[in-house]
Symmetry: C2
Subunit: 330 residues, 2 copies
């Protein structure tokens, strides 16, 4: 656990140092956010630089690699890294195009989805072929392994694509995704440490995954210094996809993907509310179920102050994470 | 650890339920905050009810008593409870008088200090006489016990009075004291669990102290739902003294009072900045060292937004708490 703490501290320190270097540079590159025209009244946020995700992504990568146990199995860690970096790269391209075109349109939805699916299939097959991951998912709180056979692959692809896009949707208010994801990573660290202590065969392997989670947590704490309200930088798609990829990667390699709707309920509801809004709009030929989707914008339209919505999301996430931990600690 | 989690959840649930009952009632009693005239521009905060501390104090007390191990030694828990309730009661009287007089003047400084010193002497003597607390303080990171002999009593009185008044001084921005204290209580819970596992003789006793910390953490998480920016309620002196008493109580019974300047640096700096301001003002016949004291108001006067100051205090506190934990975990 000491090693995990040092990883958190190292990633945090790097992110804190990176902030004042990266933010002015992003501003100079004219990477200021072009505010989505139909959104709530966020005019004050125009000009805030995008792509700040690199402030936590780079430190998290460096810290995870630097502090991982080289003599232990690091295949699971590698899968997490590939997931985070792979999805993060797709987000980076999207951000970059938005900036070049000076609009809020980067890649088209299809152009985003295609590489996401390719990467997800690769990751799902990789997990399926590894004996220490395999074709099973753990059913939370029942400690039952649910073996899906080859059907694991399409299910995992759905979970991967769903999670990264849900993370992306949740990234709409200052500190919202960063903070909620922070609690998720801390939870996954505790779970990995508990699983590692209970399973000598996968002990080193899971410790390395815990270190990855610690690196993400540390990077995000540092990032929140610059992203908490009023935000000086936004994480952009590079950040939200990186977070989504890192989180779903950790869940995939621990077979705990079914925890995601609980610990990442905030992301889950962002997607679900978007789908409900879309389906209802279609079915009713133009009526809206929520005042605006995803859900956090609905709360904004109802008049809740931004910081209060974020606090509520944090608090609900913390409580769900605590309840989840009940299934893993003595 | 499961029991601690349930304690957190129970205290949280009670606080969440209590909020919408207590806040309108405090408003009706005309307990709205009278904003200190010399303070920063906080006119928007006038009318926010005070004394919201009971929203976390009552749940914390109920949860701590309900979940404690009755068959284990609960003397240390009792000391924590007496410290929290005792100091909280002094704060309650102060708040109550402020409301009755419709001014920001409650008890005079001397009228506050006298009962604080009496209570502190009683607690310090009680600790001194208990063999499982005694006259020693643990020196952080060196794992040395520093035996003060009878000198323990005045030192502990100073620590007790200093901590509760520092907590009181830190309570100046939405969510500031509640959040910083939350991280301190979580840290003390982890430390108590670690000490409990390492010391069979005090195991049950320390588990009960951990449960008290969990109860405080849960109550505060619930309270933050109502106190985070923009605050719907302030904790008042009843809240800040209760927090100070609870925190210093946990440190006293674990002999870890010397951790306070680290994990509670935010409180510590509030007092120190106030003292520097006062001494400098006296020495220079009217010059100010800080634009305003305590320190968080100095940052406000420098133009930092309130929510950003609070986030910074949270982040620094979390990092100091993590570094502190390095001395207690494997």
């Amino acid at each position: 656990m000491q090693r995990v703490i040092w990883t958190v501290v190292a990633a945090f320190a790097m992110a804190i140092v990176l902030g004042p270097i990266v933010i002015p540079w992003l501003k100079k590159l004219k990477l200021g956010k072009v505010i989505y025209e139909l959104g709530p009244d966020h005019a004050a946020k125009a000009g805030t630089p995008q792509m700040g995700g690199i402030i936590f992504a780079l430190p998290a990568l460096v810290a995870a690699v630097a502090f991982s146990y080289k003599d232990a199995e690091w295949g699971l860690l590698l899968m997490c890294l590939v997931s985070a970096v792979g999805f993060g790269a797709i987000g980076f391209i999207d951000d970059f195009l938005k900036v070049k075109k000076h609009s809020s349109e980067g890649l088209t939805p299809k152009q985003k989805l295609a590489p996401q699916i390719v990467l997800s299939v690769a990751l799902a097959v990789w997990a399926y072929l590894r004996p220490d991951v395999g074709s099973s998912l753990t059913v939370p709180f029942f400690k039952v392994e649910w073996n899906l056979g080859w059907f694991y692959i399409p299910v995992m692809v759905f979970i991967l694509v769903g999670t990264v896009n849900s993370a992306n949707l949740l990234d709409g208010l200052d500190g919202l995704l960063g903070g909620c994801a922070l609690f998720d990573f801390i939870t996954m660290v505790v779970i990995c440490l508990a699983l590692s202590a209970a399973d000598p065969a996968r002990s080193g392997s899971l410790l390395n995954v815990a270190i990855f989670g610690g690196a993400m947590a540390g990077g995000l704490i540092g990032f929140l210094q610059y992203n908490s309200h009023p935000a000086r930088v936004f994480m952009g798609d590079v950040g939200s996809f990186f977070i989504g990829g890192a989180l779903v990667g950790m869940c995939m390699v621990t077979r705990l993907s079914l925890l995601l709707p609980i610990i990442a309920l905030a992301m889950f509801l962002s997607s679900v509310s978007d789908l409900i809004q879309f389906a209802y709009f279609r079915a009713t030929h133009g009526k809206r179920f929520f005042r605006m989707a995803p859900l956090h914008h609905h709360f904004e339209k109802c008049g809740m102050p931004e910081t209060r919505i974020v606090a509520m999301y944090y608090i609900v996430t913390v409580m769900l994470c605590l309840l989840t931990l009940l299934g893993f600690v003595a």
